[in-house]
Symmetry: C2
Subunit: 353 residues, 2 copies
């Protein structure tokens, strides 16, 4: 069935649009009181992720408030290591913890590749439920964490600020790191393929911690495995657009674009006009307002949104977003000011197309 609003997909294909599409990373999240209410009903975050009806409910909440041009599956990047048996717990204020971290060749040998339709059935059910509830209003984005990003959690046993153990493995036991990253790449490929089969109209890979690496380590341990995912999806006949987002990856945009993905996510450190000059003839750019600006006045939010649209300039190939997720302390009205400003201020850049 044809989508009622296909701006997001048209922008990914760099086809003409009437105005710049916009969605917001973590648009279904704690800054929304209705989200907090659903989460409280669920009891905890993991139950919310694992209950398709509730995941569907929170996925749709921001679409009721804001004129967003895409929905994104409500889930977590850690579903895959959880399904591998690493023993995920998510405690408020503590962050994710794995009771069985992966730190040795034996640990790595032990973990298997989850079968999406059995081991991660709840995610596929959520995609199907959301897709149906959306009634083709906007496209649905599926997603996964990048192999390197998943590996940091698996090795550290949770969040980290310095990736001590994960980086030690890269430098002292690179063969182990490659074995683990290869398993994650295979798992992510199957997982995203299954999300597309269940109804996702595009998929995004979040390489949240790729930017913590050196240029050489990024190539070897992060980008290489995102390339395997892009290649694997294409080989499997998956034809929906793929967006790769390495937070802190502004130096490496050419290499990311060269993977064959359709969209490249930008954090707020890169000037989007400069990024367009570098890779805009090959891919769509997604981003890139500093989420901190949502703490300022609506006037400032609109001014900064307009500056980003102006920096990108005339024509299609831009999906507006923040450079990272919206934080729990943001006023929903400021998100509305942003979304509306993007649509209003961007029409001038699409007038001739």
């Amino acid at each position: 069935m044809a989508l009622k609003n296909d701006r997001f997909l048209r922008a990914l294909h760099r086809e003409p649009v009437d105005c710049t599409p916009v969605w917001i990373m973590r648009q279904a999240g704690r800054y929304l009181p209705e989200y907090r209410a659903t989460r409280q009903r669920a009891g905890d975050f993991l139950t919310l992720c694992k209950t398709p009806e509730l995941a569907c409910e929170v996925t749709l909440q921001p679409l009721e408030r804001f004129e967003l041009d895409a929905a994104i599956l409500f889930s977590d990047i850690l579903t895959i290591p959880d399904a591998m048996g690493l023993g995920l717990t998510l405690e408020e204020g503590v962050g994710p913890r794995f009771s069985n971290p992966v730190r040795s060749a034996a640990d790595i040998a032990r973990i298997g590749i989850p079968d999406p339709e059995s081991d991660l059935r709840y995610v596929m059910d959520a995609v199907r439920t959301i897709k149906s509830a959306l009634r083709d209003r906007v496209p649905l984005i599926g997603f996964a964490g990048s192999p390197w990003t998943l590996a940091t959690y698996a090795i550290e046993g949770g969040s980290s600020s310095d990736y001590k153990l994960a980086k030690k493995m890269l430098y002292d036991a690179p063969a182990d790191a490659h074995a683990l990253l290869d398993k994650f790449a295979r798992a992510v490929t199957l997982y995203l393929k299954a999300q597309v089969a269940a109804g996702a109209d595009a998929v995004m890979v979040f390489d949240s911690w790729g930017g913590a690496l050196s240029a050489a380590a990024y190539d070897e341990f992060s980008l290489r495995y995102m390339q395997l995912i892009v290649d694997g999806l294409k080989a499997a006949g998956v034809s929906v657009p793929i967006i790769l987002f390495t937070k802190g990856g502004g130096l490496w945009l050419e290499k990311i674009a060269a993977t064959g993905c359709q969209g490249v996510g930008l954090d707020w450190h890169t000037d989007i006009g400069a990024a367009r000059a570098r890779i805009g003839n090959r891919v769509c750019l997604q981003g890139n307002m500093d989420p901190a600006i949502l703490r300022a006045s609506p006037t400032a939010v609109e001014r900064e949104a307009a500056a980003i649209l102006s920096s990108f300039g005339q024509g299609s190939g831009h999906i507006f977003n923040l450079g990272h997720g919206v934080t729990p302390d943001i006023e929903p009205d400021n998100v509305k000011a942003l979304v509306d400003a993007v649509h209003r201020c961007s029409r001038q850049y699409h007038a001739s197309t």
Copy 2:
């Protein structure tokens, strides 16, 4: 008097050297048992900073262990806001706190520009004491925080992970932010000029948090004020080399090099060979190994050091360093392995010069 080892200064001027000079950010620090002993004698970190004999003692400690090519004044970037009356306390495990943060136009109007030889006399005395104790063995580096980096602490009232209040000021009250940054730029210029008068052979500006900004905000609120410092020092007749280091500034190297500084610090995200191609004809590059590599084996440390030297390639204009400070959990022997590897492996790149 002529320096016995002037590799560091020769590299800054891109003059021939026998091997690549090396020093380590936070080389006088908690990873050294002798530092911890002196600090314990001092009682606390601020007393250590404010007692010239003890600051001198810890400055020289790493030079006794390692063949370092420069000493760096032991001090803290927060001496300036402390001298401005912001009420600095430094508690172990808590980090720096200011009892009088600067959050309004009235707060900003109230603070004055410290006179280095009276208000920060202890720093100048430390420079003189260290310079004398060094007996021209190696050059002495003076330093300060960048205006933006100092402003984040002054506005937030301490360390921050997201710079909520500081960024809010940039976007909602830019005139206030400029007034504060201008005061810090004037204070830093006087402070560095006085350090040079007291004996510093080069100065470095640490823009530790410039990389948290968007490209546009970096230009307006960080780089602009480092430019004022470079211009101010030159106008005051200060002729020693200036090194600017924006952590996370890899996208902006051309703009940093265009300030007229002699050296540009690199964090580990930038490939140093790529950085040299971009700005190596104008400035010396300082960096850039991931400090996390010091947690790996000496073999890995030496391999990674060799890879950085190889990426920079033939000739002068490189000062080896980490991409950020050495952390307290590092084995001193691994720092020795690094320093020795840099000298040993770099001779081949200077053979013909």
